[in-house]
C-alpha cells in the first residue's frame, strides 16, 4: 500500500464486495474515511495479553438449557 490512489482502489473493491456500492457512489469520501478507520489496527494490548491465552467470547452450551 503506497499512496491514496492505491487506498482508493482497495476501498472501492472492499466497499463493492460489502454491497456498499450506493454509499460509495453517494458518499465516496465518507466511505474512504470509514475504511481507513475500520482497517486501522488496534493499539498494543497490555503486556502479557495473548490471543492464545485470552480467548475472548466464551461459549456456554448450558445457557441454552437454562433458557428453556
Amino acid at each position: 500500500m503506497s499512496g491514496p490512489a492505491t487506498i482508493s482502489d482497495r476501498v472501492r473493491a472492499l466497499a463493492e464486495q460489502e454491497g456498499l456500492g450506493r454509499a460509495l457512489q453517494l458518499f465516496p469520501e465518507q466511505v474512504q474515511a470509514a475504511a481507513e478507520r475500520g482497517l486501522r489496527p488496534l493499539g498494543e494490548a497490555p503486556v502479557g495479553t495473548s490471543p492464545i491465552l485470552s480467548p475472548a467470547p466464551v461459549f456456554d452450551p448450558l445457557r441454552f438449557e437454562r433458557d428453556q
Binding site: 453517494l26 478507520r37 482497517l39 497490555p46
Partner: protein, 476 residues
C-alpha cells in the same frame, strides 16, 4: 408550593404520598411548561399528554385510596425515543424508523408503569444513539438549556435537555460509549451508567449488544437512586440481565465517605490527552472536596485512554454495522451524515480485529480490576473539553472520542457523571465516579456526599446556588 418545574422526584413523591400534591396537577404543570418552552430546546420528539393525564389520574385515585406503589408513583418522567412504548412509534430519531409502532412496552417502561410513574413523552437523541446532533433528519437536534448554541451532549440529548430545562424530574437514557453521562455532563445534571446487566435491555433498540446500558438521568443523586431502583432487576427475557438482587443504594446514601479509598485516574486527562484547563480545575476542586470529607484519594494508573477508545469503538462499529447493514447498503442517504460516519467503519473491520478487540476488553478489565485492589471507587473526568458549538460538525467529530466515559462501558462497572460547577462561559463541568461491577451503592454514596458538600446539583435548592440559577435563568 415549590415551583413544580424544579421539584425533585424525592420531594414530589413525598408531597404526592401526603396528598399535598396531585399527580394530575404536577403532570399538567409540566405539560404546560413543555408546550411553552420545548420549542426552544427540542427535547421532546413526542409528548404523550393524553396518556400522561390518564396515568396521572389513575395514580391520583390509587394514592387517594392509600394504595401507594412506591416513590415513583405519580412521578412524571420522559424516555429517550429508543424505548418501546406500546402503541407509540420508537423512531430512534431516524427517518428509517419514522413509521414504526411498538406493540409492547420495553421491560423498564413496564416496570415504571407498575411503579405508577407518569410518562410525559419521548425525547430526542442522536440517530440510533450514535453520531451527533444532526440537522439532516426529520426532527431537529435537542438544544442545551445552558446555551442553545452549544452541544447538549448525547446521545440521550433530549433527556438531558428536558431535565436541565425543568421539563421533567426524571428521564431514561441509554449508554454505549457515554450516552447517558455525556448529556449529564453537558447539561449539568446527574446520569448513571449502571453495571452491565443490572437494567434490562429488552425493548430498547440496540446499538452495540455488548456495550449497551440503560441508565437513569435526574437533577440530583437521590432522585437517580430512586429511578435506578425502579428500573433495575432481573428480566428473564433479556439474556444479558443479571439475576443478582438489586443492591439497596438508598439506606447508606447519606453515610458519608470518611475512610473510603478513591483512585484518581488523572493520566487520562493530563498525559494521555491535554484536557481543557477548566475541566481539569473542576475535578481538582472536586478532589479537594472529597478529601475534605475524609476520603483518601490517590493517583492510580490504568492502561492509556487511547487503548480503551480503540477497544470500545471497534466493538461499537462492528456490532452497530451488523444491525444496520441492510439499510446502509440500500438507503445510506436516509441516515444522517454523522451517523454514517460512525457506522460505516464497521463494514471494513476484519473479523480478526473484532475478536482482538474482545480479547483486549478482557485484558483491560483485568488491568482495571488490578488497579482497583484496595480501592472503593475511582474518579476521573467525563468530557475532556467543554461542550462545543452544536452547529460545528468538525468540532463534534473532533471531540467525539475526547472523553473518559467509554472506559466504563468496556469494564461494565457503574459510572456516574456529577456536575462540578460551571466554566467561565457558564457551561457545566463534570466528573465521573466509577467502581467495580455492582458497586452502585458506593458510587452513589460518593456522588451524594460530593454534591451535598459542593452544592453543584441543580434542582434540589437552586436558589441557594446563584451562579447556577443565573446561568439557567439566562438560558431561559
Amino acid at each position: 408550593m415549590t415551583d413544580l418545574a424544579w421539584l425533585s422526584v424525592a420531594e414530589g413523591s413525598a408531597l404526592l404520598r401526603e396528598k399535598k400534591l396531585s399527580p394530575v396537577e404536577w403532570a399538567r404543570a409540566l405539560l404546560d411548561r413543555i408546550a411553552a418552552r420545548d420549542p426552544h430546546y427540542n427535547a421532546f420528539l413526542a409528548v404523550t399528554a393524553d396518556l400522561a393525564l390518564q396515568e396521572a389520574r389513575t395514580a391520583e385515585t390509587e394514592i387517594a385510596r392509600a394504595n401507594w406503589r412506591g416513590p415513583m408513583h405519580g412521578v412524571p418522567y420522559a424516555a429517550k425515543d429508543i424505548f418501546d412504548v406500546a402503541g407509540l412509534p420508537t423512531t430512534c430519531h431516524s427517518k428509517i424508523r419514522k413509521d414504526h409502532r411498538a406493540t409492547s412496552d420495553a421491560f423498564v417502561i413496564r416496570k415504571l408503569r407498575h411503579a405508577g410513574a407518569v410518562l410525559l413523552g419521548k425525547t430526542a437523541l442522536h440517530e440510533f444513539a450514535t453520531g451527533g446532533p444532526a440537522f439532516d433528519l426529520p426532527w431537529p437536534p435537542a438544544r442545551n438549556p445552558w446555551s442553545r448554541e452549544h452541544h447538549p451532549g448525547g446521545s440521550s440529548s433530549g433527556s438531558g435537555a428536558a431535565l436541565a430545562a425543568g421539563l421533567v424530574p426524571a428521564a431514561l437514557g441509554t449508554d454505549t460509549g457515554g450516552s447517558v453521562r455525556n448529556p449529564a455532563t453537558c447539561c449539568g445534571i446527574v446520569g448513571l451508567k449502571p453495571t452491565y446487566g443490572a437494567v434490562s435491555l429488552s425493548g430498547v433498540f440496540p446499538l452495540t449488544y455488548s456495550l449497551d446500558h440503560v441508565g437513569p438521568m435526574t437533577r440530583n443523586v437521590e432522585d437517580n437512586v430512586i429511578l435506578f431502583h425502579a428500573i433495575a432487576g432481573h428480566d428473564p427475557g433479556d439474556p444479558t440481565s443479571t439475576s443478582r438482587a438489586v443492591a439497596d443504594c438508598l439506606s447508606g446514601l447519606d453515610g458519608g465517605i470518611k475512610g473510603l479509598r478513591i483512585g484518581l485516574i488523572e493520566h487520562f486527562y493530563i498525559e494521555d490527552a491535554a484536557a481543557d484547563p477548566e475541566q481539569v480545575r473542576g475535578i481538582e476542586r472536586a478532589v479537594d472536596v472529597l478529601r475534605s470529607l475524609g476520603a483518601e484519594v490517590q493517583a492510580i494508573r490504568v492502561p492509556p485512554l487511547a487503548l480503551w477508545t480503540d477497544c470500545n469503538r471497534t466493538i461499537h462499529a462492528a456490532e452497530a454495522y451488523a444491525i444496520h447493514e441492510r439499510d446502509l447498503r440500500e438507503r445510506p442517504e436516509d441516515f444522517a451524515a454523522l451517523t454514517r460516519a460512525r457506522m460505516l467503519p464497521g463494514a471494513f473491520i476484519p473479523a480478526s480485529k473484532y475478536i482482538k478487540a474482545q480479547q483486549l476488553r478482557a485484558a483491560l478489565c483485568r488491568e482495571f480490576a488490578r488497579a482497583m485492589r484496595g480501592l472503593d471507587a475511582v474518579v476521573t473526568l467525563s468530557s475532556l473539553f467543554l461542550p462545543c458549538r452544536i452547529d460545528d460538525p468538525a468540532a463534534i467529530a473532533r471531540t467525539y472520542d475526547q472523553q473518559c466515559r467509554l472506559v466504563f462501558n468496556v469494564t461494565g462497572g457503574p459510572a456516574i457523571s456529577v456536575p462540578t460547577g460551571l466554566s467561565q462561559s457558564g457551561l457545566p463541568l463534570a466528573m465521573q465516579i466509577a467502581s467495580r461491577a455492582f458497586a452502585e451503592p458506593v458510587v452513589y454514596r460518593i456522588a451524594q456526599a460530593y454534591c451535598a458538600a459542593a452544592g453543584t446539583c441543580i434542582g434540589a435548592e437552586p436558589r441557594t446556588q446563584p451562579r447556577l440559577v443565573t446561568a439557567r435563568t439566562a438560558a431561559e
